[in-house]
Symmetry: C3
Subunit: 398 residues, 3 copies
């Protein structure tokens, strides 16, 4: 039973039914779940992100971008602490000319005065044109989206809701930026930011290599169970054909991939394998040599429970950390991702690896800005204006 009894009947439906409410004519009204990110939608958003990134290179392109949504005001309602997601949404808004406003204090004055959470959000929707929210309250973003749909049905003011991370559940825009980074890398385009050069030359070393997210081996290393990031990304990746996933985790029930996710992935056709060290092998071949993409994570100590804290702290983490030698054994084009922040004390990725061409994690962070800007362009339906601005400045490109 959620905190929102009047919406309980809507929350009780299947995931597919719920997703359905947040789109219209193939376009998102709200982004609440990672499962809304279909292959086709990802392609569209990534194309937009590319255009935004290219336009942002110079002063004139930036002026075009700021002219897309200057009449819009955003509310960033982040009652769960976040720096990276928050700042990257701020930057994304600013790129498009959207004015930003924020409420970050979980003890808002109005809540002290016993205002309901939904009244607070409806107030925000009176003043602002999109609500980007991160909250610990289960289902809160989803409920706000239903409220907006109700208002729209009765011809009252309604605005898009964006889920910017909810408790340990969902973080759809992180999955979006991870996919943008993966798709850009596996584009192997010479105009791509991805350091590895074109497909042709790579294929002489790696004969079976193809472009795109399909036909790849993805490895996820570290704290899998408690990372909403991995859950969201793996689910999205499971839509692509011929995908293999390796989960490399300490042998502890709090960290290992959980059975729910595993069976969901397998049902979708993903080959899933579990390992207990980055040095493990498959059929005699070291896994680091056989993977196309390595997604590192931080051990999320803040989620340790009192009962498991000592156990988890006693685990030897060296099998789950990168070093120069391990990276050197990876394929030359295989990106190393990390949702960041990384743990500077444990050091799952030591700083001396930052200049390796496979180290994509800082670029991944910056991609968050472009991908989130692309999402806002989509939600406000100004993709045509973006394409026109892009075509005008880059007449040759697609």
């Amino acid at each position: 039973m959620s905190e929102f009894p009047e919406f309980q009947h809507l929350l009780n439906r299947t995931p597919e039914e719920r997703d359905q409410e947040f789109q219209r004519h193939g376009r998102l009204k709200h982004l609440i779940f990672g499962s809304q990110l279909s292959i086709e939608l990802l392609d569209r958003l990534c194309r937009s992100a590319d255009m935004i990134r290219r336009l942002a290179r110079d002063r004139e392109g930036n002026a075009d971008l700021r002219n897309l949504l200057p009449n819009r005001r955003a509310m960033l309602y982040f009652t769960q602490p976040s720096t990276r997601t928050f700042l990257s949404f701020m930057a994304a808004c600013q790129i498009l000319g959207i004015t930003c406003n924020e409420v970050r204090d979980p003890k808002m004055s109005s809540e002290v005065k016993r205002e309901s959470r939904t009244d607070s959000v409806r107030m925000f929707s009176s003043y602002f044109d999109v609500i980007i929210m991160r909250s610990q309250i289960a289902n809160f973003a989803e409920v706000c989206a239903y409220m907006m749909n109700d208002l729209e049905r009765t011809d009252r003011r309604s605005v898009p809701i964006v889920n910017a991370g909810a408790g340990s559940d969902e973080h759809p825009t992180q999955a979006l930026l991870d996919m943008y980074t993966i798709l850009r890398t596996f584009d192997f385009d010479e105009n791509s930011l991805s350091r590895p050069s074109r497909l042709g030359s790579l294929q002489s070393d790696y004969p079976g290599l193809t472009t795109g997210a399909a036909n790849k081996v993805y490895a996820f290393c570290g704290d899998i169970k408690r990372g909403r990031t991995v859950r969201s990304l793996a689910t999205v990746l499971s839509q692509y054909s011929n995908v293999t996933m390796y989960f490399i985790t300490p042998p502890h029930d709090e960290l290992r991939v959980d059975d729910d996710l595993k069976s969901l992935l397998e049902t979708a056709g993903v080959k899933v394998k579990e390992f207990e060290s980055l040095e493990d092998t498959v059929d005699g071949t070291p896994i680091l040599e056989s993977i196309d993409c390595l997604y590192m994570t931080r051990i999320q100590r803040e989620h340790n429970s009192d009962t498991t804290e000592a156990e988890i702290d006693s685990i030897d983490l060296s099998p789950f950390k990168l070093n120069r030698q391990r990276v050197d054994s990876m394929k030359s084009y295989a990106p190393i991702l990390h949702p960041f922040p990384r743990d500077s004390i444990i050091g799952e990725i030591p700083t001396e690896l930052d200049s390796d061409p496979r180290a994509m994690y800082f670029r991944q962070a910056r991609n968050g800005m472009w991908a989130r800007a692309a999402l806002l362009v989509h939600l406000f339906d100004v993709n045509e204006a973006l394409m026109e601005a892009h075509a005008k400045r880059f007449p040759g490109s697609a």
Copy 2:
């Protein structure tokens, strides 16, 4: 004796003398007191708010609005917590192209260093072009306005001061937005946002009905004594002719309308009646059937004193709450207002009433944004530019 001894001789004057200092040639220099809102000024501000609201409907109109004050920077100095007033001022500034800055922490670093309050505000006036302030310190906004007047007299930099709520005393911009909502509703114009349709058809049901704020019965329900909102609004309404006010409150000295306000209203010619339930009658007619406007309020439990807390908590509040049946007995055009936030636990207005056409409280909140933008247009004296922009886009309208 205030905290500002050097300004005490100015604070000791009559309200009229003090009001006089804040205007010049019929225009406000600062907005400190509700009593500065004359009928004529309200008319001007509401006309501006209408123009702003209409222009804000589309992209081009928004661009015109943002072009009114792009060279201005505002300081929102809110040391008393507030979400609604704060955000609505932010939005109002942004609509007009004003850049916003804020100081909200009551323990500013400079105060730790024993800077005087007036030095802090003068510092703000060095960097910013208007100071919108909410503070618990009695007379602080007024004193800042005197300081600015002094600076102006000696040809130094001076900026407008806006009182955005001071302790339990004054909240002039709330009175402004309440009046804007009332005047728009009682305009009975078909272009108005007010749901009830035109005056003609209404008069067949309600023969004596006239447009405007005069000749009406206003009911205020709930926590009257501790609500600066009601005090400010009732005072402003008392300027209109043939006004009746009903105060419907629990029979407790902390909540009931106080004698000061009552005698002030009666002196101004208002007929005042007190009741102890929304179900009470006047000459056999239920009051809910006879009123033209119902202003609901929240019981402000945060102002309970230790001695009265138990008493007030034991009051049966059901006579002061709305429900479907009570609303159904009201006149079809009579707006229900509430300064918000409403109390979701007590439930003086249950959410199931939100879709009733008389429920004006969310529109009232949004009106706060338009009314505050109109105030800024007035203070910065760009009303002509606003009228020109409006006339260009809506050539037919007044």
Copy 3:
């Protein structure tokens, strides 16, 4: 040993070697130390500040200014509390069209997650185009500048770092704004904001008077040792020829000018004298009559240690406070400066002196905005665009 072992070898070099890293082709890449402010650079920055101030007088000039850097986003990373410096940087950015973002909470969520400080700053540099930072961590801004230089060398994204005050050490932009105020005052130009009129008429009263910062007697009064402001400004002033400095402080080792600074100044050719009261004399002449500029400071009680608190609190401060009579004995053109906030309880400058034409401290605060804007124009290399905009609107002026 600093918190940044990997940068220790760089921190161990001489001040000159370190300064060298932060400029290129005579232009600043980062502003970290006051010693980077050469006479020639100060002249350029002050000319820019003058142009910005003049353009900001009207709507069109403001539009030109906002058009200088609208494609830039700033991060104000202020983990050490500050109001004045923070707000004045905000305003400076806004004048130039730069969008502002801020992180002020020292307990950022990412730090809770054990992100290293340098990772946090590199994250900021992913989203924003300049990082303006104030921190208590020794050498932090300097280390960030080295990190950015490393990134630049390997062709990765790099942004300018501005030190907005670090612990009790350095505050180079305060020295910049102090110098801007001093140079404007000693310009004796009739178009200058300095109230004293032109040099010619002044020379009849003060025959030896020249324009510029050279050939002057500067007095610093109050808490010298603990004021990074005085340290930075005195060092910068020591570059000018024929400069005398008087330090007027209580006879306590925590407050008196320290031997390091004194010998640094004397090596640079400054004549240094110490006094214990504003009423002291030199060769029979009261010092207040002989000085060209008086820099007042606040006793920084927050830096009192437990052992010295009682001692310092027992000092009679009356010899270090201004009053009407003392100011009347000063030269008519001699500016009174104060970095602010002033202490309203001790009252080193009573408010009744604020309207004296020598009282430059509020103008000095406002100059901080112009000087910081000039610095940003310099760092982003848009000085030419500024000069063009200025020449277009003020064709006659230099």
